[in-house]
């Protein structure tokens, strides 16, 4: 953990020194082909989820009802063919359609839950890092307690107690990530807190809130964005896990994890239902991780190897 | 005959940004029992030379373009790793620049000295530990501290431990790479004095790398001045200090304050060392030399004998003596 905090410190310092940090970073990022490939795939997924939403809106859900959720028993468990390249599931629904329409759940829940965690963790971490001392101590001890509950276990507890509405699902993924993000934000804030320009702002009478939002957060942003982007992957894994256990997104919604849950029963007869959605999840998380790693290397070239 | 004979050593580092020419044809001889000082700026190739003798160039980037290093009649550069391991520590040992980082933090200092002994002598662990304790006493650290870890020692003490490791197997040749640069001035003198004592006691030859001319004056028999990976002047300590010939050497001397003559201003050498990826074709020093002529920029000067065992690499000295072939 210590090392991570030091890395964060050096990234924040760098943010101070080069004015063209983001332009530089983008230049370096572009050279990293693997990371670019990861980002392109993530962008494709974003386009798919927006496109499917638009299609649903334009066709008033006709495609969704006819192709994604409507049972078609003659095609039950049909293997991959030209007509259905990924085959069909236990109700004869085309898996490709279900995967495409399921993209929105993983992406939306993954990204929004991390945004929630970022707001929560960012707030707590910024306060802890900015004020230090007792405030810091209390907040970070509470965060330690949260960290002592395995994140998947906490997510299960939250969904069990509160039910599996979309909001609760978001909460169950976000809450366990709050302490992790709080730590990162705290470390970055601490590394910029005592810099000259903050002193200067304080000297001309800026209040704490203004200093935090106008001076500290922008300068501590780089490591926070990197960490957040790397966390989205694990959020997607969590949501898939919850759906797989049957306590996440409810069927017949085509969430990737819940397709896998149903697939378990038919593993003997139709391998493709259990293999393909999992590959989809894996490639998505992999792309996010590659893009996140690339972002980290681009924002702090010193850390690269 | 020379004890250690380096002939036309050329070393490059292959990096992502290009090829760094670190050493460009270094010729050096170290005689038995003598201390040769190697002086130069940061980045002149001093540490590269030391690592090259030890066979410790970074495997992936370091590349020896040409040259031989004869020790005891055998070329170190042609030796296998196994043979080199027998030489390292037992015949040639090295003291590193920064004592803070050159000791393993998770092993006791006793263990680290004993390891050197066990590498070369077929002895039991407790025998090796006993030797380690003796070595500690020798460098002025109580034997009881053998069980302590490096972080429990001060910088000067750590360097003593490093010296104890280097001398544990009684090597015939010692390379000291800026052994005192990282230490406080008061400690520097102590450590150097101790090294001199031990050197005399064990009759060790030494290559003392430094950028501090004062250290050279006090400790060395001969001195070689290195610039941009090339020896530009070398000779006996008195010859070089009293009758330096190369403009770079002169520059080095005039950039240190001298207490006896009142000067209002020091005269630093103008400019910077040339980019080792893009060295000048002619004399490497021509970019900073006030005597530089068109010839200096185009033609590479050879070492010229300017006195008994005193050589300089400059066209200005050409008339005075014979060119080294």
């Amino acid at each position: 953990m210590k090392r991570k905090e030091r890395e964060v410190g050096s990234m924040a310092n760098q943010a101070l020194h080069s004015r063209g940090l983001w332009a530089d970073a983008w230049h370096r990022f572009k050279k990293n082909k693997v990371a670019v490939a990861g980002m392109v795939f993530v962008l494709i997924l974003v386009v798919i989820s927006i496109a499917t939403l638009v299609i649903d809106w334009v066709t008033a859900g006709e495609i969704y009802n006819n192709y994604v959720t409507k049972t078609n028993l003659p095609m039950k468990l049909a293997g991959p063919s030209l007509e259905h390249i990924f085959g069909c599931d236990e109700y004869g629904r085309d898996i490709l359609f279900r995967l495409l329409w399921g993209t929105r759940y993983s992406l939306f829940i993954g990204i929004v839950s991390i945004l929630i965690a970022l707001v929560g963790g960012g707030f707590l971490g910024a306060i802890a890092g900015f004020y230090g001392g007792k405030v810091d101590n209390v907040i970070m001890r509470v965060m330690d307690v949260f960290l002592s509950i395995p994140s998947m276990v906490m997510a299960i507890a939250i969904v069990t107690a509160l039910g599996n509405s979309i909001f609760n699902l978001l909460l169950s993924i976000a809450v366990p990530q709050i302490p992790r993000l709080a730590r990162i934000v705290r470390a970055s804030v601490m590394s910029v807190r005592d810099r000259e320009f903050v002193e200067a702002a304080r000297a001309v009478g800026a209040d704490d809130g203004l200093i935090i939002f106008k001076y500290i957060i922008p300068n501590a942003l780089a490591p926070i964005i990197v960490q957040a982007s790397l966390t989205v992957g694990s959020a997607i894994l969590s949501i898939a896990g919850l759906s797989f256990l049957g306590i996440g997104v409810e069927p017949p919604a085509p969430e990737w994890g819940s397709i896998l849950n149903a697939a378990r029963t038919y593993m003997r007869d139709a391998w493709h239902i259990s293999v393909i959605p999992g590959l989809m999840i894996m490639i998505t998380v992999l792309s996010l991780n590659l893009a996140g790693d690339g972002l980290r290397d681009a924002l702090d070239p010193k850390m690269k190897n | 005959m020379a004890f250690l004979d380096i002939k036309d050593l050329q070393v490059d580092y292959v990096t992502e940004d290009g090829v760094v020419h670190a050493l460009n044809g270094v010729d050096l001889e170290v005689m038995e029992g003598e201390t040769l000082g190697l002086v130069g700026e940061t980045g002149a190739g001093k540490t590269t030379l030391a690592k090259c003798i030890m066979g410790l160039l970074p495997q992936r980037t370091g590349r020896i373009r040409s040259g031989e290093i004869y020790y005891d009649g055998k070329d170190l550069l042609k030796m296998s790793l196994k043979e080199m391991q027998k030489i390292r520590g037992a015949h040639i040992a090295m003291i590193f620049q920064d004592p803070m980082t050159s000791l393993n933090p998770v092993l006791t200092v006793g263990d680290q000295i004993a390891e050197a002994v066990q590498n070369h002598e077929n002895c039991k662990r407790d025998e090796a530990m006993k030797r380690a304790e003796e070595m500690l006493e020798l460098v002025g650290i109580p034997a009881e501290r053998a069980g302590d870890y490096p972080h429990q020692f001060s910088g000067g003490m750590k360097q003593r431990v490093v010296i104890a490791i280097a001398l544990a197997c009684n090597p015939k040749f010692l390379i000291a790479d800026e052994p005192t640069t990282a230490l406080d001035v008061t400690i520097q003198a102590q450590v150097l004095e101790m090294m001199q004592d031990l050197k005399r006691k064990f009759h060790t030859s030494m290559l003392l790398i430094t950028h501090d001319l004062g250290v050279v004056a006090q400790n060395c028999d001969r001195v070689a001045v290195i610039y941009a990976g090339e020896v530009v002047e070398y000779g006996g300590i008195f010859d070089v200090f009293k009758g330096m010939r190369h403009p770079y050497t002169k520059g080095l001397f005039s950039s240190i304050p001298q207490i006896q003559n009142e000067v209002t201003r020091l005269a630093p050498i103008p400019g910077m060392m040339p980019d080792p990826m893009d060295l000048p074709e002619g004399c490497k020093f021509c970019t900073r030399c006030q005597h530089a002529t068109q010839r200096c920029r185009e033609e590479h000067p050879q070492l010229v004998q300017v006195g008994e065992g005193h050589w300089a690499r400059c066209f200005l000295c050409e008339q005075e003596g014979k060119v080294k072939e």
């Binding site: 090392r3 509470v142 330690d144 002592s148 509950i149 395995p150 994140s151 998947m152 276990v153 906490m154 299960i156 507890a157 069990t160 107690a161 509160l162 039910g163 894994l237 898939a240 896990g241 797989f244 256990l245 049957g246 994890g257 896998l260 378990r264 593993m267 259990s274 293999v275 959605p277 999992g278 999840i281 894996m282 490639i283 998380v285 992999l286 991780n289 590659l290 | 030890m54 410790l56 992936r60 391991q85 030489i87 390292r88 520590g89 620049q97 050159s102 000791l103 393993n104 933090p105 998770v106 680290q112 390891e115 050197a116 590498n119 070369h120 972080h151 490791i165 280097a166 544990a168 197997c169």
Partner: protein, 319 residues
């Protein structure tokens, strides 16, 4: 050192109280009325209200929390609605199975992950390094439960060598049935450990003390084990500890896939039957396991790094 360990154990108490408070608070948000669940649908409003009073469900939150903690200390975690037996009995019966699975997975990730990372680092940029790190990237991106499904497909259906579900009998039976689930959980942590080890080794390889060791003629194998690995392991230990949490979460999913009779499967079962005391008990048990493992890791850490050990020694002197 002993004082440090005792101190750390004492520090565990507030952390555990806090953990239980959070879990208890979350589960307390549940809409499920225990009285109704116990009495069944046929019960009248009156009898439900009576039972609520009897169970103390109408007491303020902190009173109930205090009662739960006091009971827990005495080993009482309440009664399972479904089984009508003490939750603690249910958990204790399953705990060894979960521990067996989790510790096998930790063992696998250490035994496979560390050597993988070491070799990859020593041969940086080689084909071995590239391939193993790509595999690790995939490994850490794959969902645990899906890996379970794929392993079952491969090694239980296509090549039937390992059982697809439940725990076998006898030593060999258990061992055979342990293979697939433990690998399923371990894969992502093997990947993490290998990547951490590699990064940490790459840092250590460049250290001056490695050159010092070479300069005294130490053979390369000894340099790797004694000088590099000893130092590189320090961050790896932390990583293994933190990963244990992921691993426990993974065990919930994996136990479900393989019908492994552990706490993870029990908690999912309990969720489906709205058996709140069991869910609470399981979450508390898993969290306590995680906390205890982290304590062990911290102590191990102090043993691995003399600088940390010395801090505590000094701390003792000062006091």
């Amino acid at each position: 050192m002993w004082k440090y360990i005792v101190k750390r154990i004492l520090m565990l108490i507030p952390v555990m109280l806090g953990t239980i408070l959070i879990v208890f608070f979350i589960m307390d948000r549940s809409e499920v009325d225990p009285a109704k669940v116990i009495l069944g649908d046929a019960a009248t409003e009156e009898t439900v209200a009576e039972l609520r009073e009897e169970l103390g469900l109408n007491d303020p939150f902190f009173v109930r929390y205090g009662r739960y903690v006091l009971d827990l200390v005495q080993g009482d975690m309440g009664e399972s609605y479904t089984y009508r037996t003490p939750v603690s009995d249910q958990i204790l019966a399953r705990l060894p199975n979960t521990l067996l699975l989790a510790s096998t997975a930790v063992l696998l990730s250490v035994v496979i992950g560390i050597p993988l990372g070491v070799v990859a680092a020593k041969k940086q940029y080689s084909a071995f390094d590239n391939i193993s790190m790509v595999v690790c990237l995939f490994g850490s991106a794959a969902p645990t439960f899906w890996l379970g499904l794929v392993l079952v497909l491969l090694f239980s259906q296509m090549i039937p060598i390992f059982p697809a579900s439940s725990m076998g009998r006898g030593f060999w039976g258990v061992l055979r049935s342990l293979v697939l689930p433990s690998f399923t959980i371990a894969i992502s942590s093997i990947a993490t450990v290998a990547r951490t080890t590699r990064a940490s080794m790459l840092e250590v390889i460049r250290q001056d003390y490695v050159d010092t060791a070479r300069a005294k003629g130490t053979p390369e194998s000894k340099i790797t084990s004694r000088h590099m690995l000893r130092n590189a392991l320090i961050p790896v230990i932390t990583s293994v500890g933190l990963n244990f949490g992921v691993l426990l979460g993974g065990s919930v999913l994996t136990e479900t896939v393989f019908a492994w009779p552990g706490i993870g499967r029990y908690v999912i079962e309990a969720i489906k039957t709205q058996d709140i005391p069991s869910v609470l008990g399981c979450v508390v048990a898993l969290s306590i396991m995680f906390t205890v493992v982290n304590l062990l890791v911290d102590i191990l850490y102090a043993f691995a790094d003399p600088r940390i050990k010395a801090q505590y020694k000094q701390g003792r002197k000062k006091r």
